[in-house]
Symmetry: C4
């Protein structure tokens, strides 16, 4: 193995570290949410009726977990696809990636807020959940945009990545972001007067 | 290194990401269950008698953890074996894998339900536990079935994988699934009238 | 790349999966213990005196965490050394490894028991902690023993591994195990009559 | 593949294990802190006013999490950079690394202390947080210093690492450490009399 090959392998391993670190964060986020779904203590000697009620209380938590599992799974699958184009990394990429992982890491918080407060008269938890989804999408778009802009330095096949990602990145910027901002404004507006719900 | 080799290495690394992500989920699931087994707070100044009682209360949790550790370990060992045949992945495979990991991720929930409610007059927690085991097996069988059907595209030695897995996949479909459905029906039937227990 | 090389790489990757899965379990165990060390809720509006008391209550937990962090770290470093000899794995090795990881995974439980119940009149938590350390050592010795016995099939340099590990494995079997059994018997004996303490 | 190449690959994999284990610890630490941020139980049937108050209570926890996420992320990025120089490891390096990871693992504890006790009249939690940051920096400097001192044995391009790290390591030793010690002394001094705040 000559020096140049060795350096290339080393650089690839550094990129793998960034990727596997992201995967570990995804894996932890996707699984620790399950810790939220549990029965209250002290049911061992309770009657069947009380246990059934406790189960019914779990259903929204279980549904919240299912949706969050598949959202985070979907974000992970997109991250897998996105990073498959990379051959190198930059410090800026790591910062974008950490910001993206930060918003992903808010999922357990958002799900617990949503399932803990959701009721016909109170949608604030649902708002928080959608805001976290929106910010995760936004930061993933920024990450994709960074890749497109620096495709010639850090990606295999820069031409292909532009074809595959640029339209998507722009579509998101021009379509989703206005929707997100409209949505956030609406949230804030109604969040101030939740008695309207 | 020529382009074709580089692409092959990249594709292999993508598959490794899918696999190591699954491993991380398995590792988290298999270990966070242990967080359930703990003594109540404030025992430092309690008498020996009270501490002994608190220990006795832990025994079902410990037993539940032991069984779940080895069930999840067994599922992981099968996943290790199954994915050793793969040389490539598809989006559908990722979806099957995520569904499988989703059911595995319900283990901490199922164990905590089981050990928190099990009593001679109440087997609903045990049912939930068996349902989670059943659904994990079912989704693993679906994953194996997908591999067998697409062995020519994504596996090394398609002939071998058919020989090793097809019979098993079919056996599970024709034998285990009817048993599982019978079991689930029985669960639902008795779950509606738990006072029969 | 010819078929034989490809197979070898695949087999090596399978072994890496086993190892990285073990590492993930170690990493989770070593870090989730820190979740135990926290102040009770609702101290924000408490007086300085009460906060200082709450801090003093944390000291045994912090000490317990420090010892456990370095015990688990030491077990991980030995696992790193042990598995550096391997070139292949068997199903039996996976079982031994899972059993070892199971006992390692009891550390958070043992530490929380120890720091939650330790007092001059009650050493039962300390016993549980030492039992978990003892069983982890024992299962690691069994793993090392398995490697020594099957060095010719699954290890690089079988001669070297015998030289480096055999004596250690035997020393442990002939020295530590009798001590462990004596210790366990003593624990059980005094455990039955903790009022002697 | 000849014996020498095989050995080199094996040694590299051992180093990768050390690195990926560290990454897993970082990933767990950076994400489990989010479990702290949750609303109290039983808000589903509470009024909007009470829910809003519970949200306001979360703001310091959320801010604490944000700062800690980016501190741990920054430590991870430095670890990524630092270990990119390595081609081999020693037992001493593993010990330095474990000590560093130990202080990183105190972040969830420190953040929970800070956000749980911070008030205009009580800065003890903030002190604990800064002490943990200081000790993490100190142990990372020790790790960097070890690399610089042993660059000829365990690093690629020893000349480069000296140029890049030595000054930083010394700057930290001669500038940050005195500040840290002054700070710690001040903390202890005021910690003894927190009524001065």
């Amino acid at each position: 193995m000559n020096i140049k090959e060795e350096e290339e392998i080393k650089r690839e391993f550094q990129l793998e570290r960034v990727i596997l670190f992201s995967d570990a964060v995804f894996a932890i986020i996707i699984t620790i949410m399950v810790l939220e779904i549990k029965l209250p203590e002290g049911l061992r000697h309770a009657g069947s009726e009380k246990i059934r009620e406790a189960f019914l209380e779990l259903i929204p938590k279980l549904l919240g977990y299912i949706t969050a599992f598949f959202f985070v799974g979907m974000f992970w699958a997109k991250h897998l696809k996105l990073f498959s184009y990379l051959k190198d990394y930059t410090t800026t990429l790591i910062v974008y990636n950490l910001v993206f992982l930060f918003f992903i890491s808010l999922f357990p918080f958002a799900v617990s807020i949503m399932t803990g407060t959701l009721s016909p008269s109170n949608a604030i938890g649902l708002m928080v959940y959608f805001i976290v989804i929106g910010l995760s999408m936004l930061s993933q778009t920024l990450l994709a945009g960074y890749l497109v802009r620096h495709a010639h330095e850090i990606c295999y096949y820069p031409a292909e990545i532009e074809k595959n990602l640029q339209w998507k990145a722009q579509r998101v910027n021009y379509v989703s972001l206005p929707i997100l901002f409209a949505y956030l404004s609406a949230c804030l507006y109604y969040g101030v007067k939740p008695e309207l719900y």
